[in-house]
């Protein structure tokens, strides 16, 4: 087992046998039960959907470059922002980190040969794709225009677009999310290597454990909600449409009971990534390990108790509003615990400014802005002012794009040597992260101002006084698009031409770095015995890492 960082003069020889060359041909991929290959299958699927969702965003930003609704009709504009939301949330953000990096890394990090249920893992990828194909059909057949929130009775009765097919697609894809979450919970409980106690686990695992809890508890609720909605739309009997005696606000409650915690499905895994990156690139034990670990669980628990803040103006009682307002603010506590602990880890340290660390810095800054504006929105009075404006749009993009995607890309770079066995080109990668950071802020910061000034979301035309800020936003979006294309190009390039990576290029302490890059099909030559804490670093001048197995 290689446990030291290579000296620059050393020639690194890739392993003879690894999971990528263990089998060739389409069948060896489509019928694989290797968690590492399934992670890559997911990577291919969600990347496709990421760029599809991005294409819809491009149309939205092009339309909004001018005040008049001149590029697309208002009906089509409704469809484009709906499909942007549906594709990005259900088909990219929810599966992004767990299904790709979680799948690849969780067994490696706990010293196991695979996840607990490898066949269910493969099934989850197929289920995802079936749902995705049905949703693609809905998009090609003319799209859907209800907003990604599918509020009744618009979705049950009045919309003439492909609500049904989209709903079925999301319903099916939900099961892939449930299967992934179920698999991770059981894997982390039962397959940890000898000596790897809960409080020795890397924080990435704690974050994924919390995420899996949400997936398992939340997703069935959106499943039954969509099912009831689909029946109501199909046979006009049901419980949501007031014309049938039902209550449309019940739909909103059920929908947000899943869809608010879903935000934590997106952000928690990225927080886990940032914990790994920060510790590695300052070569220090992370500050407040237990606090970061349990704050993930706290976010998962609190996350289920705040859904009512989406309904402050939807006939919810003021008293319920006050309780939800208070609880929403309470989520800031575990979130801030994380941010403070990362910052404290950086204190008086010497930082290696490599690409993953730059993404982590981006995450911490942008997530803080997104989180703090979330507190504004949790305040009852201010929320009424900015409800359904671009302020809300900017807020959740700071969390989901500035937070979740920054973390995802940071993690993809950090573990790329392990995944592909090759290093990415550092110069291009730094250019990429810089482009994304600049593009992102130019896109979404003006939207805070627009929302505060009163520009509502979901309109394809707006008053002239909003144009300057909208042009800035559209310009930023084109920079952001270049920023996202860069990693896709150079990462694919590096799979063939990048320098060969050592087993532990950074170097770091985790179990995943104590096997070859790329790992063999069974992950480890022998089952590791863990005797060290997750972030036990030796001083920088001693390159070797603590612990042997």
């Amino acid at each position: 087992m290689i446990s030291t960082a290579p000296k620059p003069s050393e020639v690194i020889v890739p392993p003879q046998r690894h999971y990528l060359n263990a089998g060739y041909g389409v069948k060896s991929w489509l019928l694989t039960t290797d968690h590492k290959r399934i992670g890559l299958l997911y990577l291919a699927s969600i990347t496709l959907f990421f760029f599809l969702g991005g294409a819809f965003a491009t149309i939205i930003r092009l339309e909004l470059a001018t005040p008049a609704g001149d590029l697309v009709s208002s009906e089509n504009y409704n469809k484009f922002f709906t499909m942007h939301g549906v594709v990005m949330i259900f088909f990219f953000l929810i599966p992004s980190v767990p299904a790709v990096l979680g799948n690849f890394l969780i067994p490696l990090m706990i010293g196991a040969k695979d996840v607990a249920f490898p066949r269910l893992n493969l099934l989850s990828w197929y289920v995802y794709n079936i749902g995705a194909i049905i949703t693609l059909y809905a998009i090609i057949a003319g799209g859907v225009d209800t907003g990604w929130t599918f509020y009744a009775p618009l979705s049950t009765t009045y919309s003439n677009t492909n609500v049904m097919a989209t709903g079925v697609g999301i319903f099916i894809t939900g099961f892939s999310s449930i299967l992934t979450g179920l698999n991770f919970i059981v894997t982390i409980h039962t397959l940890r290597a000898p000596g790897l106690t809960w409080l020795k686990m890397p924080l990435f695992l704690w974050a994924h454990y919390a995420t899996s809890l949400i997936q398992v508890l939340g997703t069935p609720v959106i499943a039954i909600t969509i099912l009831l909605l689909a029946f109501e739309r199909a046979v006009h009997v049901g419980i949501f449409d007031p014309a049938l005696g039902g209550d449309p606000v019940l739909f909103q409650h059920l929908f947000w009971f899943y869809s608010h915690p879903a935000v934590y499905i997106m952000i928690l895994p990225s927080m886990g990534i940032v914990s790994e990156i920060v510790a590695t690139f300052v070569r220090k034990n992370i500050f407040g390990y237990k606090f970061i670990a349990f704050s993930s669980i706290a976010i998962a628990v609190f996350g289920f108790l705040v859904w009512g803040h989406h309904m402050f103006v939807s006939s919810q009682s003021v008293y319920a509003g006050m309780v939800f307002s208070f609880l929403s603010m309470a989520v800031a506590i575990p979130s801030a615990v994380k941010v403070f602990n990362w910052t404290a880890t950086l204190y008086k340290s010497s930082v290696s400014y490599q690409t993953p660390m730059l993404y982590a810095f981006g995450f911490i800054g942008l997530f803080t802005i997104g989180g703090l504006t979330g507190l504004f929105l949790a305040a009852l009075g201010f929320d009424v002012h900015v409800h359904d404006t671009y302020f809300v749009v900017a807020h959740f993009h700071y969390i989901m794009v500035g937070g979740a995607i920054m973390g995802y890309l940071g993690g993809l770079h950090y573990w790329w040597p392990k995944i592909s066995g090759r290093m990415y080109p550092e110069g291009w990668a730094k250019l990429g992260v810089l482009t994304i950071f600049v593009g992102f802020n130019l896109t979404f910061f003006p939207q805070f101002l627009l929302g505060y000034m009163g520009m509502p979301r979901r309109y394809h035309a707006y008053s002239e006084e909003f144009q300057v800020l909208n042009v800035m936003s559209s310009a930023g979006a084109s920079i952001l698009a270049v920023g996202y294309l860069l990693p896709m190009i150079y990462l694919i390039w590096s799979m063939r031409y990048g320098p060969v990576a050592s087993a532990n290029p950074w170097p770091s302490t985790g179990l995943e770095w104590r096997t070859s890059s790329p790992p063999p099909p069974e992950n480890f030559e022998k089952t590791p015995v863990v005797t060290w804490h997750a972030y036990e670093f030796k001083p920088r001048d001693q390159a070797e890492i603590v612990g042997e197995f």
Partner: protein, 251 residues
Amino acid sequence: MAESHAATVEGSGPSTTALAHHFEDMEQQREAGTLGMWVFLITEIMFFGGMFLAYTLYRSKYPDEFARGSRELSILLGGINTVVLIGSSLTMAMAVHSAQTGNRKKLIGFLAVTLLLGLTFLGIKAVEYTEKFEHHHFPGVNFKLGEHSETASQVAQKPDGAAAQPQAQKPVLDSKRVQLFFWIYFAMTGMHALHMIIGAGALSFLIYYSRKGRYTPEYYAPVELTGLYWHFVDIVWIFLFPLLYLLGLHE
């Protein structure tokens, strides 16, 4: 726990072939399977939970209409089904016990009786559904309450007449709200019946492989996990029966 695993690996016969490559030993595999099933059952609770929430909301909003709708359900048939299901849970538990003790004949027998009771439940449910359709109790344009019910015809004539009624009389029932009851009844019992059908499929699978002698005292996880699932589906019915059938009893 990992140290204790090592000792049990060299078990012979079917237990070693049943061990998947990524587990250390049978004990770990069994633990993973059981935990996985429990987590799955939790997702099921959340799934049914959405419908229980809808039930709670509308029942507290429209108690009279729910009681009226409930009186149309047959307590006799529902009661028989409850007994049938509880009986099937007992035979399922006996089947798991027989698998544990390695009594293959008893295992097959108890599984068969469980399957039979499950099918009986579905048969009675089918009779009930047919009755409901014949009496136009399925919500939708053809919905109506029985002819002997004067409230129904009143509602048909003047749907907004509630305010005009003297207080001494029974409150006029809104047909839409009674339909809500029936829609929730069909959604919940239908979803339950779907789970029963899946359970019956799993039982048939178990019977087929028990006859082939796949299950031994070392390896009977599929029997045990199907048992957990079967008990869960049973418990859902234990909640559905009083909430739907016994609601209109008082008065």
